[in-house]
């Protein structure tokens, strides 16, 4: 990544993809049938830190939802804003690093933003994704996915904080990002449900373990503690 990381303007570029993304962010609705029930979807911002809370009841078994969320090789299926993905090997067996480049849009202004997250399953069974700031355009970020099996379907809760390092114009940028993030996560929830329910229906279990993933050696030293 080039240029100063502290202040970067959201730069519009003359390209169909940016126009399409901008239009999509305004008008997009999931083009497939969905059965999920959205319980909560909130995005707030305070001092440059975005907080995202999404909760939904999905018509899909919990184990298949977990499988979709941990299928890091195919994580691009969850959002059309993801334009690059890569699974990075670490020396720890209990966690995976995933690099993604996403198209972040605030109104008609779009730019590609890179982040690397360390993903691991907590003892509770929840999934945690923590941003690695040194390799990301975010100062910090932590997300928790909680999946609860119910009598019919599952409950999926997502709670995250996200602190972008790139500059966002405060007056128009922040509300636009808030709106864009909210729409993005609602769409992602719908896609998770769709993929999980399709896989459950055909009893599909894709190989997604780290050992089988496309891995790239990282230069990060092992933490012995």
């Amino acid at each position: 990544m080039s240029g100063p990381r502290s202040i970067r303007l959201l730069v519009p570029i003359c390209n169909a993809r940016f126009i399409a993304a901008a239009v999509a962010s305004i008008f997009f609705q999931p083009s497939f049938s969905v059965a999920y029930e959205l319980n909560r979807a909130e995005v707030t911002e305070n001092n440059g830190i975005f907080q995202i809370i999404v909760s939904a009841t999905l018509d899909a078994p919990a184990e298949y939802i977990r499988q979709v969320l941990t299928d890091y090789r195919n994580i691009y299926r969850l959002s059309s804003s993801i334009v690059e993905t890569e699974v990075i090997e670490t020396c720890r067996r209990d966690e995976t690093q995933v690099r993604t480049k996403i198209l972040a849009c605030a109104s008609v202004f779009c730019r590609e933003v890179e982040k690397v997250e360390t993903v691991r399953a907590l003892d509770s069974g929840d999934l945690q994704a923590r941003i690695v700031p040194e390799q990301s355009e975010f100062r910090s970020g932590l997300a928790i996915w909680k999946i609860t099996a119910m009598d019919y379907g599952s409950e999926l809760e997502y709670a995250a904080t996200l602190e972008p390092e790139f500059y966002i114009p405060p007056v128009v940028g922040v509300p636009a990002i808030r709106s864009s993030l909210k729409a993005e996560f609602i769409t992602t929830v719908a896609r998770i449900e769709k993929i999980a329910s399709i896989n459950a229906e055909r009893d599909w279990s894709e190989e997604h373990a780290l050992a089988d993933a496309d891995v790239k050696k990282t230069d990060l030293p092992c933490n012995k503690n």
Binding site: A16, A21, K194, D214
Partner: protein
């Protein structure tokens, strides 16, 4: 309203820089799909078809995409899964064509990108 003389010139430069050679599905895209993709992505026995339901032996199949959803966003190759996979932007294992096939040349990758950016037309 104040007019800035450079603005029309910049607009022309931006628009012309977005122009590209017109790519034909029949002449440029279908032959590549046929030679490097259809072996796996055809029903009923192709491994790529069995895995994700993707048929690449017809325009309709390309546009329909997989059982999970479309692989093309017309006009936007950067966000299209088809382009992501042939360009290797989703990791080496997901790079297409997979298995015994060689990767696409830069020229062919460019054709796919231009075709999608031009609207993924059946031309």
């Amino acid at each position: 309203m104040k007019l800035y003389p450079l603005q029309p010139m910049l607009l022309v430069i931006m628009l012309t820089s977005c122009a590209a050679h017109k790519v034909s599905y029949q002449h440029d895209i279908a032959p590549v799909l046929e030679s490097q993709c259809v072996e796996c992505h055809s029903s009923p026995d192709g491994s790529g078809y069995r895995a994700i339901g993707l048929e690449l032996d017809s325009y309709d199949g390309v546009i329909k995409g997989t059982i999970y959803g479309p692989i093309i966003i017309a006009g936007d190759s950067r966000r299209s899964i088809l382009n992501m996979l042939v360009e290797g932007r989703a990791g080496r294992r997901e790079c297409m064509p997979g298995q015994s096939q060689q990767g696409l040349s830069d020229k062919k990758i460019g054709l796919f990108s231009d075709w999608v950016n031009q609207g993924a037309l059946k031309n």
